[in-house]
């Protein structure tokens, strides 16, 4: 056991995961072309039809095709998750990097702030935003971004602290490069890979959280076919299992695919990266 060489994993996960995600993305964008009709078309007389050859995924309470809504749903779910992670990641990265680089009381204040945000119950903040600004995808995204950035900030800070004392940075300072210049050209690029890794792992959580918000009624508004909202609508309809099951499956498969892709990216970007917690 002890002598087993470290396996070099083939990029199987990355390929498969990436492929699935890519497929979903393509489907989401191309949904209007793929779907026989819009996600909003109601046919009350055909409500609650179980899956059949006519309605592949069945129909929901207003007679809308579940298949069509699942196809369209990918747009909102993926768009929300990606934007939240990108925005939170960028904001967190800059906040953490600057904090770690300049140190001093800025650093202390920033770290206290991240602690505060992480300790704050997110559900209260989400509710507050909905109360203040109204429901909707954008506001849900805003609520998520506000609590999503701390892990990125802390990671960025940690990496910057490690890099800051490296020789080439000290050398650059000695030569006379400005602190900003060093920051831009030496520090930032070295921490980006870590950010990307965290982001890809994080995407799955973002998807599930966004869906969870819609499930609670704090996310999208009807008739938007977001997957979480669809599961929520279906939770009262346990006899009509297809209304909740297919969107749930969609979330599940997407997250797994993203996780595989994320693992693959992690392996590709830095095969010797230690386990980060």
């Amino acid at each position: 056991m002890g002598d087993r060489p470290r396996r070099r994993r083939r990029p199987f996960g990355l390929v498969l995961g990436g492929a699935v995600v890519g497929l979903w993305g393509a489907v989401a964008i191309a949904a209007p072309l793929l779907a026989p009709h819009g996600p909003d078309e109601q046919h009350l007389e055909a409500a609650f039809q179980p899956p059949s050859s006519r309605h592949l995924f069945g129909t929901d309470d207003l007679g809308r095709e579940v298949l069509v809504r699942v196809l369209y749903g990918g747009r909102y779910t993926l768009a929300l998750a990606f934007s939240v992670v990108i925005v939170a990641g960028v904001v967190g990265m800059f906040a953490g990097a600057l904090s770690g680089y300049f140190g001093g009381w800025v650093d202390e204040a920033a770290m206290r702030t991240t602690e505060l945000v992480m300790a704050f119950p997110a559900i209260i903040l989400a509710m507050a935003i909905v109360v203040a600004l109204g429901p909707g995808l954008v506001n849900a995204g805003l609520a998520m971004v506000l609590v999503w950035w701390p892990p990125y900030a802390r990671l960025a800070r940690g990496e910057v602290l490690a890099v800051r004392s490296l020789e080439y940075v000290e050398a650059a300072t000695a030569i006379g490069h400005t602190r900003w210049g060093i920051f831009r050209r030496a520090i930032l690029p070295s921490i980006v890979p870590g950010m990307v890794i965290l982001a890809t792992i994080d995407l799955g959580a973002a998807i599930v959280t966004g869906a969870g918000l819609s499930f609670l009624g704090l996310g999208v508004t009807p008739p938007t076919p977001e997957w979480g909202a669809m599961v929520s609508a279906g939770r009262e309809l346990l006899a009509q299992w297809w209304v909740a099951t297919f969107p749930g499956l969609a979330i599940f498969l997407t997250v797994i695919a993203l996780n595989f892709a994320g693992d693959g990216i992690r392996d590709a970007l830095d095969p010797r990266v230690r386990v980060r917690v």
Binding site: Q42, L44, D61, L62, V130, G134, P135, T221, P223, E236
Partner: protein, 530 residues
């Protein structure tokens, strides 16, 4: 100091062993609990167990089997006022003084008999404690004791509706001696002096058929039969209300017989349970009347013809058959059909036909070809058998056909009420649920209350309802309210009356004696098990 038993290792071992071997737990099947009835209901809206403060729907549900009031209104004659603690009464000609003769056999669980002091204490406490329901006591001037069995209620001015108001939960009659001993106060200033509220969490002081064992917020209510009750002895010795928020879960639990009744079924659950063995579905008219409110200060609702057009554009029957699946009916005005001043015949007359062609023509007349306006409602809510989310989407579909784009903007329930009360939504799905069963309780649609939110005035209608409130003569009142309803249904009114959903209750097949009142819900003392 709480004596703490040392945790015996044997106890732990036994406990783990029992759990792991999966021994069946205490029996929950019907056979094991013939004299106990378990009811699933969402009780999260109960704010307080103190009867003099209760006002919300859940609070009234809690009070109803525990406390009695001077008068009652029972199924199936919802409007008929019968005596409860009052054997008989007389009303002065000017409708300002009500004199009640109390029954002699009413006794509180403490052993104290009912006297007029209890009535005086309870009514004044309701007014002075400034709780959520205290405004119902605004007309009350004072309560006088004539003798231990006779009490006189004097109002500030003529009010023909107060007798019906006395059936409301806030006017529950409590045992004044017991409540006083717990720090209860009925004088002016009670809102800060009264200390009795906490006591009501595990005790009750009412003369009703049941006594409160305990109330745990958002968990359960446990009632025990009151052996001293003056009415017919209830069948069930114990009533347990288990808090389950989701109608779907209530339905599952009912089907597995882990509860005997489920009170909050949605239309989907009801449809699902139809015909299932072992389960009966009970259906009764609810007190919800649902309407769409058009804010006349915002385009396009400022245009009278557009308001009229909308009334023809809606496919009402699809709402009844498609969305409510037949569990409800159309209403032509916002009162409950069958009430004084709103007979069935009038209801039928006031209904608008679904006529898209006429609606389109009216839009043309109005000079509006396209309009876009947001629709707000309380997200995810069901009013009885009517799911609002679906209703909203249906309305959007219908109005789109005449060129009006309803942008759907649902909000959290608590926020919706605030927005609506502030007059912010431009279109809203509203409902009315009365405080007590008198037509005057629906007058707020013109008295500057609801209509203020929609920026609409009808001074003539306001005059009529104000007059009707003071008139004691039933036939004259009837004529006035009929006129009022016609005005509410007129083309220019901002109210589009939609539907009155039914209330859906599921029960195990061995439960009988189900009596339901739209305001006060279940009459637990009449429930029986076969």
């Amino acid at each position: 100091m709480i004596p703490m038993a040392r945790v015996s290792p044997v106890v732990v071992a036994v406990a783990l062993g029992v759990s792991l071997t999966g021994l069946p737990g205490p029996s929950t099947s019907a056979a094991g609990r013939t004299d106990v009835v378990v009811i699933a209901k969402d009780i999260s809206d109960i704010r307080t167990p103190d009867p003099s403060k209760s006002y919300d729907v859940g609070g009234v549900f809690l009070q109803f089997p525990i406390y009695s009031r001077l008068v009652k209104q029972r199924a199936p004659d919802f409007w008929k006022i019968q005596g409860d603690l009052a054997e008989s009464w007389s009303v002065s000609a000017d409708a300002t003084t009500y004199t009640f003769k109390l029954r002699r056999d009413a006794v509180f669980p403490s052993g104290n008999p009912l006297t007029s002091e209890d009535v005086r204490f309870s009514l004044l406490r309701a007014k002075n404690i400034k709780g959520y329901g205290s405004f119902l006591a605004d007309p009350l001037k004072t309560v006088e004791i004539v003798d231990p069995q006779t009490v006189r209620v004097i109002l500030n001015g003529p009010d023909a509706t107060f007798l019906a108001a006395l059936a409301a939960g806030v006017f529950s009659i409590v045992d004044s001696k017991t409540v006083r001993a717990q720090g209860g106060v009925e004088t002016v200033g009670a809102e800060s002096l009264d200390k009795a509220e906490q006591w009501f969490y595990s005790h009750s002081a009412g003369a009703g058929p049941y006594v409160l064992q305990r109330y745990t917020r958002e968990t359960e209510i446990v009632l025990e039969r009151n052996e001293k009750y003056y009415g017919p002895k209830p069948f069930f010795r114990e009533v347990i209300v288990k808090h389950i928020k989701e109608p779907g879960t209530q339905s599952l639990i009912l089907q597995r017989a882990d509860v005997d009744m489920a009170l909050d079924l949605s239309v989907d659950q009801a449809e699902n349970l139809k015909g299932k063995a072992g389960v009966t579905l009970f259906e009764d008219p609810s007190a919800y009347t649902v309407y769409m409110g058009l804010n006349t200060s915002a385009a396009p609702w400022d245009n009278v013809k557009v308001r009229e057009a909308v009334k023809y554009a809606i496919d009402y029957d699809a709402i009844v058959t498609g969305i409510m699946r037949g569990h409800g009916r159309r209403i032509g005005s916002i009162m409950m059909p069958g009430m004084l001043g709103f007979p069935e015949s009038l209801n039928m007359q006031l209904l608008y036909k679904h006529d898209p062609a006429k609606a389109a023509a009216l839009m043309k007349e109005a000079g509006v070809s396209r309009a876009s306006v947001p629709l707000t409602w309380a997200a995810g809510t069901n009013y009885g058998a009517l799911p609002l989310d679906r209703l909203a989407q249906k309305l959007r579909g219908d109005l789109a056909k005449v060129g009006i784009d309803l942008k759907l903007q649902p909000v959290q329930q608590s926020i919706f009420l605030t927005f609506y009360r502030q007059g912010k939504p431009q279109t809203a799905i509203g409902f009315w649920f009365p405080d007590y069963m008198d037509p005057d309780n629906w007058s707020y649609f013109v008295t500057g209350f609801i209509n203020k939110r929609l920026h609409w005035q009808n001074p003539e209608a306001a005059k009529i309802v104000s007059q009707a409130q003071k008139t004691a003569d039933a036939p004259s009142r009837e004529k006035m309210y009929e006129q009022y309803n016609r005005m509410l249904a007129a083309p220019d009114s901002p109210y589009v009356s939609l539907a009155q959903p039914t209330n859906l209750v599921g029960a195990r097949a061995d439960i009988t004696g189900f009596k339901f009142h739209p305001l006060y819900f279940l009459e637990m003392d009449s429930l029986r098990r076969k």
